[in-house]
Symmetry: C2
Subunit: 333 residues, 2 copies
């Protein structure tokens, strides 16, 4: 295993210290318990968004803490759920009195721990609600999930609901919006290589020199099929058709297209994949109204990418375009 | 070789098409000859900045085309200099009448071709000047360069000179500023794995399971030493000491610290390396006044990182902080 680390134990703390120092204008980092908080709290009375999950998917979630998106993020150890006490501390620090919304990727550990935290916060003045993301159309149940996995579509939920919360939408409206965006969103990933979890010290799965995993999860979970390495256009076609089959976008409907890198694929390849996917959407009469290309929801050092499509409308486009200022996404401010 | 591509020949064109479509608000892409131009030209009479070089280092340079930075970028084939006719076309398209400044990384092919382009542009109304970047302190001469290589420090030159040009500095002032920033900048890179050039189909160099290349170039050129894999803190110490020895920052002087990913290293590791380097700078009494962490000057799918330190002053900090709006760097607008 080749990694830029000092040892297994310190990775998360050392990395979080660096993140906090590099973005001191945006975030405050707590190391015990571990959470990342907006440096400048939002106005009193607004809904606070709190997310989190295992580390190794950066910039998800800490990279999305800031004005117009998340109020706090709880990083667990690599590919391991954060604990309820982290979530409790983060939520209490982020609480602006307007209610707390948890954005939770659908993995058993995350779901259970965020549920426990929600119970501990039952007396929060503005209430607590949860949005579960499960945008991965690849498989129904998986290694760490009952039902579909939450993957890169989570970024879109966090951005759009974050904008609504910033504008003053109440807790019920934020929750309903999050559920609507999640339902309008589908993703599919491919792996060309496995990721390597530092504590394991070796690749999570074996993949032959000419193989790829179609429908891979962001922890290296099995997908739909282990297949021979396909050309970019065929990969894009498999992705677009699987997502469209699941979410059923209509011709003319505006789409948000996120071409997400898994961590180790060069930007040249990501833009090439984006172009292939965009063209296939347009061939189907679908209008790509907004685009995002880059590493947003990664799987450590995995080579590969995922495609996410969200069915948008004018209101969602307006929320997507709203100002955001985080370490990993910034526009309008 | 595992890459998200359709075939070797189309990689650059397909990727550029995607880049242009994803950032249509920022850039216009020409495919014949290949260059990336600011979508909204700068005001007449200002200096236009044109850069370029072999592809495979993305987001360098096309990701830095936009307001406050580059006016045009010329991408060559992977790790291959762009041609003089690309540079000529890009420069003519970007020319705002205030002179043309070429920002050129010090590699023989790039230097020769930009020189030819400058000769072809001898009649440009505002004149033509060049800034050569050679911030890599690792080795004096290298595989593709006489003298030191230009690496990630080029991003800093492009940002600071881009800001000055936007504010109306004339060609001589922009050139002098670029040379000053380059001289104040030092970089050192490490590779944990080789990159793989698509047309070659196999890793550029062999590295043992427990080895790293200290001082590697961004095309996989040899560095100072092939050494056993070191802990992050020791890597950071080797980088900080090599750079400080070369550029001689003084205690209390503000520094810009760029911790740059080579392409395949996860963000967790980059922030961890940033933290190690930052601490070592502060231990030396050096003040890290500005920070940038991420993939800015890459080497395809190489795992590893580079550290860049620039000795700043109030004027340089002010130019660094000036608004910029490009695909890869954005603040203040």
């Amino acid at each position: 295993m080749k990694k830029l680390i000092n040892g297994i134990d310190g990775i998360l703390s050392e990395s979080l210290r660096g993140f906090g120092a590099a973005h001191a204008d945006l975030v405050a980092v707590s190391l015990d318990p571990k959470y990342v908080l907006r440096a400048t709290p939002k106005a009193r009375g607004k809904v606070a968004l709190v997310s989190g999950g295992g580390s190794g998917h950066e910039p998800l979630h800490a990279g999305f803490v800031g004005a117009g998106m998340l109020d706090a993020a709880c990083p667990g150890e690599v590919f391991t759920s954060p604990t309820p006490d982290q979530m409790l501390a983060a939520a209490q620090a982020a609480d602006a009195g307007g209610g707390l919304l948890f954005v939770v990727k659908n993995y058993s550990g995350d779901v259970m721990n965020f549920e426990m935290a929600a119970e501990m916060l039952a007396d929060a003045p503005g209430g607590v609600a949860t949005v579960l993301t499960n945008d991965d159309v690849a498989v129904e149940d998986s290694t760490f999930s009952q039902g579909r996995r939450g993957v890169a579509g989570t970024v879109i939920v966090e951005k759009i609901v974050g904008a609504a919360a910033e504008r003053g939408a109440d807790l019920a409206a934020c929750q309903a919006l999050g559920e609507r965006v999640n339902k309008a969103t589908g993703s599919l990933g491919v792996a060309l290589t496995s990721c390597t979890v530092p504590a394991a010290g070796r690749p999570t799965f074996d993949l032959g020199e000419d193989e790829m995993e179609l429908g891979v999860g962001i922890h290296g979970e099995p997908g739909r099929r282990r297949v021979p390495l396909m050309p970019a256009d065929e990969i894009a076609e498999a992705m677009v058709s699987a997502i469209c089959e699941s979410t059923g976008p209509k011709p003319g409907e505006p789409l948000l297209l996120l071409l997400n890198g898994m961590g180790a694929s060069p930007q040249m390849e990501l833009y090439l994949m984006y172009e292939a996917a965009r063209r296939l959407c347009e061939d189907r009469g679908l209008a790509v109204a907004r685009s995002l290309v880059g590493n947003y929801c990664t799987s450590l050092d995995m080579a590969g990418c995922s495609l996410t499509l969200t069915r948008m409308d004018e209101a969602l486009l307006d929320l997507w375009d709203a100002p955001v200022h985080t370490a990993a996404l910034r526009w309008g401010m």
